[in-house]
């Protein structure tokens, strides 16, 4: 009898295993984004193949754009899975840039300290955002919309106050040769690229330099943050708490998940990511401007949504957000490579977002058995 039971189980398992592989595939939040990325690459491979898009400096171009977006999309995805929004990401980019540039240029603060100050300041603002959302139970949409205006306004007001202009330039004079510049705007593996150029794998400039001098720090930051975000979400207790907080905060609280602390931590994470973005930008371009990061909060959310995050929380993945950012970066730059009039860029982007959301909606219903 026990044998029969075992056989039955074996049969059942075998029959169901096939189903479960398919199911598991369908259940992957990132599936839509990965499929989308393949489509996008095929599309541009055909339409922009000969334009230099897939030459070394062309690849570097869209990888950098996608990398930048990945940094904030990772934070946005984690927060969205945790059930909240942060619309102040874009403004935080501008504000964090000013927190680095103003003390450095106008108060003689060493740039290392200014960067530290920016990170501490941003984390404090993220903490405040989270605290207000958790304590008041107001929708984070509204709370961070207020932060969006406050931070953008403060960025303009403070830069006018201290610099009498809205762009604070000259950071480069203070940043050149420091380790923070190397950390946030350096180029890695430059030896490798010199070698690649010598062997003819990538093109060289007329002056003999390789067309690509190295992998920009911003791309490495993106890879690092995405990797950490992915591991935390899928492989740690905190990750389970993030899913639980976003899936059903009450149910999570009932079993002892510290929902408030998780959410506040996530708001601090998005602020941190925005500051990484800002620091890379300030170090690379040598200036901070009041309009930096305009509308980036929506790009981050778009990337997360294309990557399979649900607007209602509790579902999604960091890997998906990375692919979402990749799609966004490739499309954004790819349209330019094709030579199509970029008047149509936003239309295309909007359609893509709509497609992604519809697709994800179908997937979610399949997964949860909802009708």
């Amino acid at each position: 009898m026990a044998d029969r039971e075992a056989v039955l189980t074996a049969i059942r398992d075998e029959r169901l295993k096939r189903q479960s592989t398919l199911r598991r595939l369908m259940a992957m939040p990132e599936l839509g984004a990965i499929a989308g990325a393949i489509l996008v690459f095929l599309f541009f491979g055909v339409t922009a193949g000969g334009t230099g898009m897939f030459a070394a400096d062309g690849v570097l171009n869209w990888v950098t754009v996608a990398g930048q977006l990945t940094i904030i999309a990772t934070g946005a995805a984690l927060l969205m899975i945790g059930g909240e929004f942060d619309l102040s990401v874009g403004s935080m980019i501008g504000f964090a840039g000013m927190m680095i540039a103003i003390p450095t240029v106008y108060f003689g603060v060493p740039i290392e300290l200014s960067v530290l100050f920016a990170f501490v300041g941003a984390l404090a603002i993220g903490f405040l955002n989270g605290l207000i959302v958790v304590r008041t139970r107001l929708p984070s949409f509204i709370v961070t919309l207020a932060s969006l205006y406050i931070l953008r306004g403060m960025t303009i007001a403070l830069s006018i106050l201290f610099a009498n202009r809205t762009i604070v330039s000259g950071v480069r004079n203070f940043a050149d040769g420091t380790w923070v510049q190397a950390l946030f705007a350096g180029k890695a593996f430059s030896g490798l690229f010199v070698w690649l150029a010598e062997t003819g794998v990538i093109a060289t400039l007329p002056n003999g330099d390789p067309a690509v001098k190295g992998i920009p720090a911003v791309v490495l930051w993106a890879a690092g943050l995405a990797l950490i975000g992915h591991v935390v979400l899928s492989r740690t207790r905190l990750g389970n708490w993030i899913f639980a907080s976003g899936g059903d905060a009450n149910a999570a609280r009932n079993v002892g998940v510290p929902v408030g602390r998780v959410k506040i931590g996530l708001f601090m994470t998005t602020a941190f990511c925005a500051t990484v973005y800002a620091t890379c930008q300030v170090m690379e371009f040598g200036s901070a401007a009041a309009d930096r990061g305009l509308l980036k909060e929506f790009e981050a959310i778009i990337a997360a949504v294309i990557g399979g995050c649900l607007l209602t929380g509790g579902y999604g993945s960091v890997v998906g957000a990375v692919f979402g950012a990749l799609i966004f970066g490739v499309v954004q730059m790819g349209i330019l490579f094709t030579g199509a009039p970029n008047d149509w860029f936003l239309v295309f982007l909007g359609l893509m977002l709509l497609t992604a959301v519809l697709f994800n909606n179908v997937v979610r219903r399949r997964v949860t058995g909802e009708r």
């Binding site: 690459f41 491979g45 897939f54 171009n61 762009i167 000259g170 007329p206 401007a289 330019l336």
Partner: protein
């Protein structure tokens, strides 16, 4: 599973250029130029330049692509210049909206051997420092100063600078030039009007109500000038202020004819679009290029010469 996707992607990324790289042959005619501006999608002023590019492309039998960052973010603009350089165009025309930000992108393009002409924003010195072939534009500070000198002659002592693009350094330079010509501090006489007409209207209204001793207005373009003209029409204070604006549009022309606007600073943007294409084409084909920068402005459009300008406003003027 994910790994295999990544592999597939990277394989595709490598395979595609190899397959298609051979197809791109250098064109003998029909050179491709890329024009990169800093203006957000919504800035209608750039329509004149787009028209100029169209005409120039037709006249020289070249193709010109117009590119801009959708939100006016200059950091995004740097990426667009890098992108343009990656496509190996025959030449790049770009503004220098922010020298620091665009420096490495523009220098990168020049290092690749792509001829670059700078237009509009930026100064001749910056252009030279970047290694561009020439600069075609209107010196912003000087244009503001020119406006300020006219205003001073008309007796202006306190003014309002309506800035609809406060995040652009050039815009602040214009206000500063105007203030310097009057010999006063800029202080809080510059307001961030935003680009929304209703907001511009109400912000200007609020400022003029709370600062009744204001007697001069400087608007930085149609976005800030048009709602202000409407406001002055609504309140009937059509001749209370010495009103100078940058740039032209149909509304501004009407304002000049009606005496509401005393003068419009015309930097003749058509030339900023048309000339660089023509110059670059000649350079690419025959290796010839003018030795000097071109100042397309400031020219002042007043009641005296408005009739000439009027019917082309917003399209070619």
């Amino acid at each position: 599973m994910l790994k295999s996707f990544v592999k597939l992607l990277s394989a595709a990324a490598v395979a595609v250029p190899v397959a298609l790289g051979a197809a791109s042959v250098a064109h003998a005619e029909g050179e491709r130029f890329v024009f990169v501006s800093h203006a957000p999608d919504t800035d209608s002023w750039w329509n004149v330049i787009k028209n100029a590019l169209k005409n120039a492309a037709a006249d020289t039998k070249t193709s010109v692509e117009y590119r801009n960052p959708a939100t006016g973010d200059i950091a995004d603009m740097a990426r667009i210049i890098e992108q343009a350089a990656a496509t190996n165009p025959a030449g790049i025309i770009t503004t220098i909206a922010d020298f620091d930000v665009l420096q490495s992108a523009i220098e990168g393009a020049i290092a690749k051997g792509i001829p670059v002409v700078t237009v509009n924003s930026g100064t001749a010195e910056e252009s030279k420092k970047l290694g561009a072939m020439m600069h075609i534009g209107q010196p912003e500070y000087d244009a503001g100063k020119g406006a300020g000198e006219r205003a001073k002659a008309a007796g202006v002592t306190k003014f309002l600078c309506v800035n609809h693009y406060i995040t652009n350094v050039a815009s602040v330079e214009r206000c500063r030039g105007y203030a310097d010509a009057l010999g006063v501090e800029l202080g809080d006489q510059m307001i961030d009007s935003t680009q929304d007409p209703t907001q511009v209207y109400n912000k200007v209204k609020a400022y003029l109500t709370t600062h009744p001793d204001t007697n001069g207005i400087l608007a930085l373009g149609p976005n800030s000038a048009e709602p202000t003209i409407k406001l002055l029409r609504d309140t009937g204070e059509t001749s209370k202020y010495n009103f100078i604006t940058f740039d032209l549009s149909a509304d501004i022309s009407a304002g000049i004819k009606d005496g509401i606007v005393n003068a419009a600073i015309d930097q003749q943007p058509y030339l900023q679009g048309y000339l660089p294409v023509v110059f670059l084409t000649q350079y690419v084909r025959y290796g010839v290029m003018p030795a000097n920068n071109v100042n397309t402005g400031p020219g002042f459009v007043t009641k005296d010469n408005i009739s000439l300008v009027e019917k082309l406003a917003g399209e070619y003027r």
